[in-house]
C-alpha cells in the first residue's frame, strides 16, 4: 500500500545539521500563515525540498492572560478568558466557570447545563468548519473555505442571536448562562443544521474524494499510537491513532452522559484520517445539537444567583477542570487563596504539545510544500500555547 510506505516515523533524536556546509537552507514559515493556524512561526532547515529540522517559535500572541487573571476579580476574568482561544472561546468560558463553581460549591440549574452543552457543541461545529477551510486551503483547495467559512458564519448568526456576540460570546458565566433561548431559536438551529449538513455532504464529495487531496494527505504526518501517551496527545489527533479517548465520555461533564454518541476512532493516524475523523465529528456535533434541542428543558431558571461580584471570594482550594474541545483536552487549573482574585490560573491547551513537541518531530522528512498541510492537520491554535 502506498499509504503504508509513506509512513515515516522520524527519530526521537534531533539531528544537528551543519548549517555552514552549504547543503541546507534555513527558512522561516510564519508568523503569518497560509492556513488559519494563528501567528506562529516554524524555523525550518531544509535539504533540497525536504525538511530536516524544525523549531517552533511561539509568543506572537502572548498577552499574559495568566498574569492578568491574577490582577482581576473572579467575575472580571469572565470576559477575559474567552480571548485565550479566538476561534473557540466557549471552551474557555466553560472551563473557567466550571472551575469556579466547583471551588465555590455552586450547582447550576438544569437548563444552564443544557444550554452550555448546546453552546459548546455549536462552537465545536463552527470551529471545525473554520478548520476544514484551512486544511483544504493548505493543500491548495480554496473552494472548501468559501463554503465552510460561510457555514460557520451561519452558526455564528445563531450565536449572535443567542448570546449577543459573534466571536466572543461571553455566555457561559459562572453560575449558569447569561440568557434564555429567544423565541423560535431552536427552529432556526435545526434549519441551520440542515443547511450545514447538506454542505458537509458536498465537502465530503469534493474534498475527501479528491484525488489531489488524497495523494497529498494520505500518509502525511503519521502519529504512532505509542506517541499518544508519550506526548500527551489528545482529541482527534489521538483518536485518529486508534486511542478512544474523549473527555465528553470519560469525564461525563454537562449533559453529555445523557446524550447518545460514541467517540469516533480512526486507525490510519495520518493527515487524511484526521481530517476524515473531524468531518465525522462535525456530523456528530450536528447530531448532538439535534438531540440537545430535543431534550433541553424548555423552562426553568438558567442561572444561579451569585454573591456580589465586586467582593466575591472563593474558598481556598485548587481544581483542574477539563473539557473536550475540538483539539483535545482543554483545561483550566484554578488555585484560590480565599481572596477575591485567583491566586493562579493555568490554562492547558491541547496545542501545547501538538504544535511544539509533536510538530517539531513530525515535520522532519516532510516536503516543504506539505508543512502547512501537516500543521493544519494537527489543528493547532498558538494562543492557547502562549496564553
Amino acid at each position: 500500500m502506498r499509504r503504508e510506505k509513506q509512513r515515516v516515523i522520524p527519530p526521537a533524536e534531533r539531528a544537528t545539521p551543519d548549517l555552514d556546509s552549504g547543503k541546507y537552507l534555513v527558512m522561516w514559515q510564519g508568523p503569518q500563515h497560509p492556513g488559519i493556524t494563528g501567528n506562529m512561526s516554524l524555523r525550518l532547515v531544509a535539504e533540497g525540498d525536504t525538511v530536516v529540522d524544525c523549531e517552533t517559535h511561539v509568543g506572537y500572541l502572548h498577552r499574559g492572560f495568566e498574569k492578568l487573571m491574577e490582577r482581576r476579580l473572579y467575575m472580571q476574568n469572565f470576559p477575559l478568558v474567552c480571548r485565550i482561544a479566538v476561534p473557540e472561546p466557549d471552551f474557555n468560558e466553560y472551563c473557567y466557570a466550571a472551575a469556579l463553581e466547583e471551588l465555590a460549591g455552586i450547582v447550576i440549574p438544569e437548563k444552564a447545563v443544557w444550554l452550555r452543552t448546546l453552546s459548546l457543541e455549536m462552537m465545536r461545529l463552527a470551529s471545525f468548519l473554520m478548520w476544514i477551510g484551512g486544511q483544504a486551503g493548505a493543500f491548495g483547495h480554496g473552494t472548501i473555505a468559501q463554503w465552510s467559512v460561510t457555514m460557520r458564519d451561519y452558526v455564528l448568526d445563531l450565536f449572535e442571536e443567542l448570546t449577543g456576540g459573534r466571536i466572543y460570546h461571553m455566555y457561559i458565566i459562572p453560575g449558569g448562562v447569561r440568557g434564555d433561548v429567544p423565541a423560535g431559536f431552536y427552529k432556526r438551529v435545526l434549519e441551520t443544521m440542515a443547511v450545514v449538513e447538506k454542505n458537509l455532504d458536498d465537502i465530503e464529495l469534493v474534498m475527501f474524494h479528491n484525488a489531489v487531496f488524497k495523494m497529498r494527505a494520505e500518509g502525511l504526518g503519521y502519529i504512532p499510537r505509542d506517541w499518544v501517551d508519550h506526548y500527551g496527545i489528545t482529541g482527534p489527533n489521538a483518536r485518529a491513532a486508534g486511542v478512544a479517548r474523549d473527555l465528553r465520555k470519560d469525564s461525563g461533564y454537562l449533559a453529555y452522559p445523557r446524550l447518545d454518541f460514541q467517540p469516533i476512532v480512526g486507525t490510519e493516524s495520518d493527515a487524511y484520517e484526521r481530517a476524515r475523523l473531524r468531518l465525522g465529528e462535525m456530523y456528530q456535533a450536528i447530531d448532538l445539537i439535534r438531540q440537545i434541542v430535543d431534550m433541553a428543558p424548555k423552562d426553568g431558571p438558567f442561572r444561579e444567583r451569585l454573591p456580589n461580584p465586586l467582593y466575591w471570594r472563593i474558598p481556598a482550594g485548587e481544581t483542574y477542570v477539563s473539557a473536550e474541545c475540538t483539539r483535545g483536552e482543554y483545561g483550566f487549573y484554578v488555585v484560590s487563596d480565599g481572596s477575591d482574585k485567583p491566586r493562579r490560573v493555568a490554562v492547558r491547551g491541547p496545542s501545547y504539545t501538538h504544535a511544539v513537541s509533536v510538530m517539531e518531530r513530525l515535520v522532519r522528512g516532510v516536503n516543504i510544500a506539505d508543512v502547512a498541510g501537516l500543521m493544519v492537520s494537527l489543528h493547532t491554535y498558538p494562543p492557547e500555547i502562549e496564553r
Partner: protein, 209 residues
Amino acid sequence: MSEKKTIPAPLANEGLPPEERGLFCDAAPREYEPARGAWERFLNWARSESLWLLGFGTGCGAIELRPLMTSRFDMYRYGIQPRPTPRQSSVFVIGGYASVKTLKRIVRSYEQMMGPKFVLALGSCTINGGMYWDSYNTIKRIDQYIPVDVYIAGCMPRPEALLAGFQELKRIIKSGGGEGQNEYARNFDWYKANQKKVIKDWNMPDYNW
C-alpha cells in the same frame, strides 16, 4: 502632528552585525510628492479600487477577515484581496492587540510594503490598549509605532464594520487623504525612537525597503 518632536537619528542599521549592514538600505524614506491635478485623481481612484491586503492577521481581528474573504461577504467584489507578502500589498490590517514580538514583525512588514500604503486598525486594543491595558507584553497605541489611516471600533469589529472601514478608506484615498506613508517619512525618527523604546532587542535593519 505637533507632538511628534524630532529626535536625533541613531546610527543607521546599528542593530545589525557589520557584515549584514551592506545588505540593507541605509537611507531614510523620503516623502512622496503627489502628481498634479487630474492625473493624481486618477491614480487615487485606481489605488482606492485595488486594495491589496497583507495576509498577516496580527491579533484576534484576523478571525473576521476570513468571512470577509469568503463567499458570504466576498470582499473581492470591492476590489480588496489578500496577498501573502508585504511586497505585493498596499493595506495592512492591524487586527487588534500587538504583542512586542508581533510589533517587531508589524514594523518590518509595514516598511517592506510598497507605497502608497495604508493601515486599518481594528478594535479597542489598537486605540488605547483595550482589555490588555495592564499587560506587560502588549502595546497600547499602535499610532505610536506606525501611522494609521482608519480606526474601526469593536471587539472584534464584525465583517460588515470592516467593510464599512474599507469604504471609508477608499473615500479617504480618493480624496487624496491617505498620507500615512508620507507622515511616516516625515516623522521617521520619532517613529523609530518609539519602536526602539519597546523593542528591546532591535536586531533588524532600520531602513527596511
